[in-house]
Amino acid sequence: MTAPAPLWLACLGQQSFSVRCGADHVLIDPMLARSFGTAPALQFEIYPPRDIRVDRMPPVRAVILTNEHLDHFHLPTLTRLPSRPDIYCGSMMPRCVLEVLHGIGYRVRLLHDNEEARLGSLRLRLFRGGAESALCEQRVYNVWISRADHRDAVVFQSDALVASELQALVSSGALPRPRCVVVTDNSQRSLPGARSPWANLEVPDPAGLVAVRSAISAAEPLGATDIVLHASGYTHPHSQHGPYLWADHRWVAEQLAELCPGARVHGLDPWEAISIGPVPPVREPLSWVVPDRDRHRQLWRQHEQAWRRGSVKPPASRPLLGCFVGDDQEARARTDVATELERMSRILRVAPLLTTLSSFGGLESQREGVSIVVRLVGTNGRVTRWVYERPRRCFVERSDDRPRAAERAPFGLEAHLIDFHALTTGDLQIWEFVTCGLRDHWSPGDRTDGLLAFLFAYFGEQMRPELAAKTFAQLMQPSTEHNTGGSP
């Protein structure tokens, strides 16, 4: 009796994967370009840098999308795939995403939670991520891929927690334990001085790898023998230290070996695949993924030098998208922002952000019940403050020039007016705004239910399909062709 063909897993960069079994090849959240981002001037370079030779890539039987966020749903890649394989996604995918996929010739198959799809010799199931996932990740799906007999399964956590239904199926024996779990490391740890969107996630002991270890803990209930780390796999466009602290997953995996005695931890480069099966995994190079070693060396040198210094010089605060042309344009932007904040205030009245315990923070001294401050910096550094007054349930523009340090509201953000305005018009995507456009923000409690999570959901594709449509159109314009990278 011949052994079945091995199952091969590859991490192609950031949150993009390939799974192959014989002739059956599927891509998960494919991002085959050198970088991603809506604006040419604001590109997030994939780390480690590589070129993906789409022409040499094995034919793709299916594409699986776990969610529609910017770092998972890469339209330029999908536009340029040589064929139009079926796309599989969970039933909660926003309509605007389905429409754009239909528009470029894809057939989309929606799956119920735990519904099985046959992809040749592979079986696919999707599970909406754990209910305790961050507010903005509530629509993200875990992926289960296995052989036809459900053996040698690989589970992709994506950005959500592992679904309780999946855990229940595994612990009850209805599904065998997966062989491998691919866990998301969203630690994205920067050096002091660098701008970080996740200020609340500062890990006290940078050597402790606490965040990565906790990511692995989330996958432990599934009892897999192999764990593959991924994510933190891009370089911030304004980075002064190259890749993030733990972006070298090979090294991280070695450090974690002692902390995870029950499982083997792997970190893969994009140009290699790992076998998943009953025998210990082996690695094999991928002929269609070419490392850019020069760029890799350059980035790593920058990384090591910065880390040796221990900090970076805070970058100059410049708007992401240029400057206003004339006072009229700035005045119009202010009016637009006021309209947007009025719209937002209707949501804030009932949003958990202000109806949960976190709103106790800072209220002790708030006679006026100011809950949120939006500080927007205009031309010549003039700051306009909009405050959300909870008793009036609306944003009010304040003319006083209170400095940031004197703000007492529990939630707040500071950004350039032009960037915030671009966010409200769809010229800047929320992921880009949070990652690069925030000058400052503060929020009590956990990042999963704080101000940024609220903004991700509020400006996200589900809530604002009109903004998403504009972003999608921008991504498909020929001017962003560099975005697709790779070789034809």
Binding site: S91, M92, H112, R139, V350, L357, S359, F360, R390, R393
Partner: protein, 453 residues
Amino acid sequence: VQLTYGGHPTWFVSEDRFRIAISPLLRRSVGPWTVYPPRRPRARRVRADAIVLPEGTLPHFDLASIRRFAPSTPVYVGPLVDADVIAAMEASGFTVHRVGWAEPIRAGTLELELLAAIGPFDSLGHHALIRSRRRAGGSALIAWDAYAAPPYEQRLADASDLRLVALCDYATLTPPRILGSLLDVAELAAAAHAASRWHESLRTLTRLLGQVRKLRPALLVSGGSLMRRYEGLARIPGCREWLLADSLQALAPDVRCHLIDVGMSATADHPTRLARGTRPAILGSASAIATYRKRQDRFLQAPRPVKLHPGRLARGTPATRERVRAALDELIGPLTMSSVGQAAVSSMKTGLDGRRIAFSLLDPPSPSPMSWVLDLNAMRFVPLEGRRHAAEVCPYGVEIFLGDFLSLLDGDLTIESLVGAGLRAWYPDHPSNSLVQFLLHHHRCRPVGTLWS
């Protein structure tokens, strides 16, 4: 310091000739509700040196009750009370002061602080900490179904002279069988949720007990609820305060637990000696309370199905439909971003589309309701076709008479007047995450013109 119970959320705090009225709800009925326990003010005009409103919604805020006080009485409101509520009182001639958490309110020799607290299902709540400025010792706490929020836990622990803790406003401690009989769509689940609501309140009170137990105060347990006007349920209170008192006593045998009736008083000096206050502002009737309790017992022995009636009839004309549709469209954003919208995404009861939340509008004599369903993927309400009930399609929903819904839009009815009296809801999880809770939150943001006056 003397505490006198005024029924449901209402307390009078007095020392010598000074008196503070807290959350005064003095009417026998409010909109479609009857207030339990039954009581009446001694006189048409009520005197106080200050009025304190921790919250700006029913049962804490009732404009008609406020108007029974002289307009010269200063009103102090908590930090989260709506600006519209303040404006309504000012229009009636009152001077209103907003106070922050823990900011002292002084009236004669009395001093009171409002503290943020946490109620069942982690909802926002509040406490009032009261002390005498004239002499040291003998402070009292009023807790509206909530335990101290983290910033104020220590403050409570430091109140070494705390002698009295008054518990009230757990009106939703509804016996499971009553609630279960209301929600015929998911009766069993609803009964379980009612039980979990009881459990949540007990949990809340147990935590509060843990926070104050070392100080050995006396507990005053009051019973208060708004009685619903269902056919078959009218004038049956939704709380069983004597059961709560027994439960708490069993949980903390070292703390003295007392039931307190309307018009009865306790003092910090003699916390265990309940007495009818001298010239209390409000009078209760022990015999009337006994009658209500008997009525509740009888109902619980043989619960009957209840029937809802619309406040007014409306015809489902195309124009009406359009109006309803426009009103629902305004809800899409808030609903999607609310905790219900987030939970609806997680719900497993799902089709291959995003239809998760339903509004069913009954239009008698038509047997089938008009139903609109929010598709969370497409972000729009779509009509529900076919003969299936919306509850078979969506995990979250509400059923309401079309006429009542239009009255809501016109401002003739408030959502409080319908919740528990004129609508049904279904939800897969606990009631704090239901469309009822969403509608309460959302419609409380409407202008004060829709409040009863």
